[in-house]
Amino acid sequence: MARQIYQAIVDGILGGGVYALMAVGLTLIFGVLDIINIAQGILVVVGAYLSYALSVHLHVDLFLGLLVTVPAMFVIGVVIHLAFIRPLRGRERTSMSLLACYAVAIIAEGVLYWIFGPGYVTLKASYINSSVRVFGFFLPYIYLYGFALAVALVVLLYGLLYRTKFGRSVRATMQDQTAARLIGINVNRVAALTFGIGVAVTAAGGMVYGATSGGFNPNSGYDLISRLLAIIILGGLGSIGGALAAAVFMITLESVVDIWSPNWAILVFYAALVIVLTFRPVGLFGRQAVRAQ
């Protein structure tokens, strides 16, 4: 039993990295734009399909393919912002953005059905099915690489936010949009670029999701969104490091409970969210704390 628990903890930590990759874009977009991008699930799937197309048609390695898919997803993000989010104005902006993002999800799903059809596809590479033995545990390479990628991306985003001029503009916009405008920051430009970056990061999440799921089709995004929302709420809306910490915590918890009851594991996943929010309503690394940094 102890061995199973250790294995579940290792699985949870590595699996948490995969979810963090999918969730950081969501939390970044919320932090700057006050928008819950409920199209995030389908955008993860779009990222997975881009990797699939490169891998199948051009035989590009999945990780190498990120050099193409990340910029491509950045462009998609900026276009979504310009077409659906930016036109929203007034007090109802946040609630209307939910509908706008839902429309994006429906459109993206339809386009994917049109291009790829309903059949399930999987990403293939030698490191997906193989693993390395460490202290008696088999650690799948894809999860190890995915976790490393998650940590690298979180560090990169921190560097972007806290070590660059653009990052200062983003943080100023996060704290007070009106004040940011008054000091000459082009808030619309910052918002569009941030949305683009949030979606671009999702390309990496999509690739690792595609490689670790049993298969995906255009409908697969709907299973993801509730988990991703739970993770960013627990981590603290707007907190990038919080998303990684929360993803690792929740997936590990779920993995351990799964040993006794897979059905209860999902319930515990969401129960943990409720319990943490009861004592800490802003999540583990809440937005007020993030904005105060």
Partner: protein, 415 residues
């Protein structure tokens, strides 16, 4: 002025009376168009063209449309062409009810065909029952459907609870020393997957095959790795997976390979039967030795099936081995309804229900069809299929026409 009003009133009353009469006719015994009509016979169905069951839903769409094109080529039914009225339910058990209500009360279809999956067939059949429509379906063989005890439901396929019976029968014939000593039974929380795996466990345990793992997991793509790792940790020699689709089986196979776990037997309730969808997901080499129960496969010796396979390839392209078994289930629905309507020389749903309950044996691409009082197909034959070197072959029942030797133990993962 007065005469105008009187005339207007009388026309109105006549129109109301006609409408009431028409509504009365259509609500008792289903479809409204007379058998001797000249327009097309309209058959309504709801399919999961999007959502969780979209792969199966679209295969059903192909099966229904293939049957319609074939039946129209030979003059239709009762001399009338057949037309499908298909609505998309997005794999939702609530939307499927709305769709059948629209098909019956607004579109006034003559007949209804079932949707995909037990989960959707159960509420859909209750709706059709309310309006007196016969509900012939091909993918609602779970207990949830028959537990309603509706007289209008007819499942042309094999009842799912019996799907693995040839597999357990084969294990019984093996000497105890050759049987796997332990088994794992991971099951998706699904009315199709669970009953057959639970029944299998109930049969194999008394044979001395120790249960190393038996748990139900949520049917969610994100939830497969942890139970798969637990099954691998159990070290069971045989895995009977209660799966409902390809991603579930694929996720378990990948996790097993990552954990260097290769059971001697790996049989899944669904997934490996989905032709090219399965092999493209797991790789042809890795599919080697994977088993699945079903009532049909593209290489079936049934003459009706061979004709359907030829017509399918001519219409949709591809190869026979890539044909999803759902296509045959859908096609069988059309065949059974065709025979019933032709025999009755009527589209009257009440007569259709009586005829289908009469104990008559009908023919389909899946084999013979005869219904009991619950609408289960009593004479459907269960088979077990196995992927062997890129070919999907029938292996059980042992000695049955078309069965080839089973590969046991399962070869090691290829990659």
């Amino acid at each position: 002025m007065r005469s105008n009003r009187t005339r207007f009133l009388s026309v109105g009353v006549a129109a109301c009376a006609a409408a009431a009469l028409a509504a009365g006719c259509s609500s008792s015994g289903g479809g409204s168009s007379p058998a001797g009509g000249k327009g097309p016979i309209v058959i309504g169905t709801s399919l999961s063209l999007t959502g969780d069951f979209s792969v199966d839903g679209q295969a059903f769409d192909k099966g229904y449309n293939l049957w319609v094109s074939q039946v129209n080529k030979t003059g239709g039914i009762l001399g009338r062409q057949v037309k499908l009225d298909i609505l998309n339910d997005n794999s939702s058990p609530t939307q499927v009810v709305t769709n059948y209500q629209k098909l019956i009360t607004v579109d006034r279809v003559d007949l209804t065909f079932g949707p995909f999956s037990t989960l959707l067939t159960a509420p859909a059949s209750a709706t059709a029952h309310r309006y007196g429509y016969a509900f012939v379906e091909g993918a609602g063989g779970g207990g949830l459907v028959f537990a309603q005890k509706l007289n209008n439901v007819f499942d042309v396929s094999l009842p799912v609870v019996n799907e693995l019976d040839p597999f357990t029968a084969w294990l019984k014939t093996l000497p105890a020393s050759q049987r796997p000593s332990s088994a794992a039974y991971p099951m998706a929380d699904d009315p199709f997957a669970m009953p057959q795996v639970q029944r299998t466990q109930g049969i194999l345990q008394p044979l001395g095959i120790k249960t190393a793992y038996s748990k139900v997991f949520p049917e969610e793509e994100s939830a497969y790795k942890a139970p798969a790792d637990d099954v691998a940790a159990s070290g069971a020699q045989m895995v009977v997976l209660g799966s409902a689709d390809v991603p579930t089986v694929s996720a378990f196979m990948t996790a097993f390979e990552q954990q260097h776990f290769n059971p001697k037997i790996f049989v899944a309730a669904a997934g490996p039967d989905q032709g090219a969808s399965f092999t493209s997901a797991v790789g042809t080499a890795n599919a080697n030795g994977m088993m699945v129960p079903d009532a049909w496969y593209p290489g079936s010796l049934n003459a009706l099936s061979q004709a359907m396979v030829r017509d399918y390839v001519a219409k949709y392209g591809g190869s026979p081995s890539g044909i999803n078994a759902d296509v045959a289930e859908a096609y069988s629905v059309g065949e059974v309804v065709d025979q019933a309507v032709t025999h009755n020389k009527s589209l009257d749903n009440t007569k259709l229900i009586s005829y289908l309950h009469s104990g008559v044996t009908l023919q389909s691409v899946q084999g013979p069809v005869r219904f009991n009082s619950l609408g289960e197909n009593l004479v459907a034959t269960a088979f077990i299929f196995q992927w062997q070197n890129g070919k999907f072959v029938q292996v059980l029942p042992k000695g049955a026409p078309g069965s080839t030797a089973i590969v046991y133990p399962k070869p090691h993962w290829a990659s």
